[in-house]
């Protein structure tokens, strides 16, 4: 267990290092956008843009939020791809820990670093908003109205829907990680069984074909599994229940798919998926 947490810490540190740099650039970029909206450059002289009626700091916060959507989306897809590098690396796989635990460490650290990044984004937005409060009265009014309308609409149902959505988002996040690993592990494992007498370029093409084959296979399985097996077994109406939304069912289905994928990934990394031999 000590090995597990030490490895986790190391992976987390390495994975968040680049995210800090990304956040820094996002802040700079948002400021640059705000600056050029707020000011105009005419004949090498800087003038205040007359059409703009908000302060530069609220502008900054706004651009930061807009960029945040893209950046978080980018990080969401890139980090699981990058973490596959660790699964393939002999340097990391030599750690005195079972491969299944190593894989869990890798996935968890990717997830936690992603959440950490979202928290950082949130904190940055909060700081920028706080600065806006200090400089701009109209922003305060806007948020007062927003809070009021939230309060009015808040009831226990909304709370459950929000909670359920968060759980589903987390499960979907893991689903993405597990699917990417599954394609990586399964295609490599199949590639290791293919007879040796094909050359380098053909192997790459074959690899892509295998991945497509796996995607098709997974799609078929998922169709049959979710629509026919899961729906018939655990459909709410079977139990005389009638939910207002399909959220609980979606959570359950995703959780089951996650567990199946996780199980097969751990099996693959323990018994088939090798670290690269490249020296």
């Amino acid at each position: 267990m000590a090995e597990f947490s030490r490895l986790f810490n190391r992976l987390f540190k390495i994975k968040t290092k680049k995210l800090h740099v990304l956040l820094f650039f996002q802040i700079i970029a948002a400021f640059a956008c705000a600056f050029f909206t707020y000011y105009e450059v005419i004949n090498w002289h800087i003038h205040k843009n007359p059409q703009n009626n908000v302060g530069i700091i609220p502008e900054w916060a706004l651009y930061f939020v807009i960029l945040a959507f893209f950046v978080i989306f980018f990080v969401y897809f890139i980090t699981p791809l990058q973490s596959e590098k660790f699964n393939r690396s002999q340097t990391w796989r030599l750690a005195a820990i079972s491969d299944g635990q190593f894989y869990l460490d890798n996935v968890l650290s990717t997830f936690v670093s992603f959440i950490y990044f979202i928290v950082l984004e949130f904190v940055t937005v909060m700081i920028l908003l706080f600065l806006s409060f200090l400089t701009d009265k109209s922003v305060i009014n806007f948020f007062r109205d927003l809070l009021k309308s939230i309060q009015r609409n808040l009831n226990i149902n909304v709370f459950w829907i929000i909670l359920g959505t968060i759980v589903l988002a987390i499960l979907s996040c893991f689903f993405l990680y597990f699917v990417i690993s599954f394609f990586n592990f399964a295609s490599r494992a199949i590639l290791d069984f293919v007879p040796a007498n094909i050359n380098g370029a053909a192997v790459k093409v074959l690899h892509i074909f295998i991945i497509f084959g796996l995607i098709w296979f997974l799609f078929k399985i998922q169709n049959i599994f979710v629509n026919q097996v899961l729906l018939s077994v655990i459909h709410p109406s079977n139990y005389g229940l009638n939910f207002s939304s399909s959220l609980p069912f979606a959570i359950l289905a995703t959780a089951i798919c996650d567990l199946i994928l996780l199980g097969s990934n751990i099996f693959l990394i323990n018994h088939f998926y090798e670290a690269t031999e490249h020296k």
């Binding site: 005195a96 293919v194 007879p195 090798e274 490249h278 020296k279």
Partner: protein, 235 residues
């Protein structure tokens, strides 16, 4: 005392091709052993199987009595090409990684080895020549306290002077009970430090013999090794 390495009936296939067949090998504690065989004979693969990074083999592999891969990895130290690090990584950061990953990593010992090999701690991986990198790998590998050290062609990029220095460091830092397996495709420079040679041919171990027994037959270790491959050419 348990043997640092016991392999029985090992078979390993990749891409439907047999790379290792029916291999048996036992190493006793406290030995320095050469694993000899031509390029592509399966020396690296064998070491990867022992370390648990090559998968899907048949047969049993025991390191210090342990069969589970996690335990095996905890009781052996394998020279790794450090490919898991970015080129901009500093030696110090790699050392941190080793300290965190291996609880038996001895920083003091590493620092002594590093000084012995004249490596500066703030150098980056990209600044190291092939020989310096190999010295670093050996220093890292020997800074762990384990029963079995696996050195995969540790001298390939190193000139004769540095090679002698590394061999001396091995003699100096080797614990009494630990065993070292050194793979290479030629043998001449290290013969004086070897207890045994293990020769791999035709995908399996074809000979394991003590070097002093070879010399007692008025044969040099090099001649002995070459005779195995010459016989094949004559056939």
């Amino acid at each position: 005392m348990t043997n640092p390495l016991e392999i029985t009936d090992l078979v390993y296939k990749k891409n439907q091709k047999k790379i290792i067949t029916d291999l048996n090998l036992t190493l006793k504690p406290g030995k320095i052993v050469a694993l000899l065989g031509e390029n592509g004979a399966g020396k690296t693969t064998l070491m990867r199987i022992i370390s648990g990074v090559a998968k899907n083999y048949r047969g049993s592999v025991k390191v210090a009595g342990f069969t589970k891969e996690a335990d095996r990895k905890g009781h052996l130290s394998f020279t790794d090409g450090l490919t898991g690090f970015a080129n901009s990584t500093k030696i110090n950061d790699i050392v941190k990684f080793y300290q965190i990953l291996y609880h038996d990593f001895n920083l003091k010992q590493f620092e002594q080895l590093r000084d012995f090999m004249n490596l500066k701690p703030d150098l980056r991986l990209s600044e190291l020549s092939k020989g310096m990198k190999e010295k670093l790998v050996i220093a890292l590998t020997f800074s762990r306290r384990v029963d079995l050290y696996l050195l995969d062609e540790p001298f390939s990029g190193i000139d004769a002077m540095a090679r002698k220095k590394i061999i001396k460091s091995i003699i100096l830092w080797k614990q009494e009970k630990s065993t070292i397996l050194i793979s290479d495709h030629f043998v001449n420079e290290i013969t004086a430090v070897l207890d045994e040679v293990v020769i791999i041919k035709n995908k399996t171990v074809c000979m394991q013999k003590s070097t002093e027994a070879i010399r007692a037959d008025n044969q040099s270790v090099e001649e002995f090794y070459e005779s195995f491959y010459q016989r094949e050419e004559e056939e």
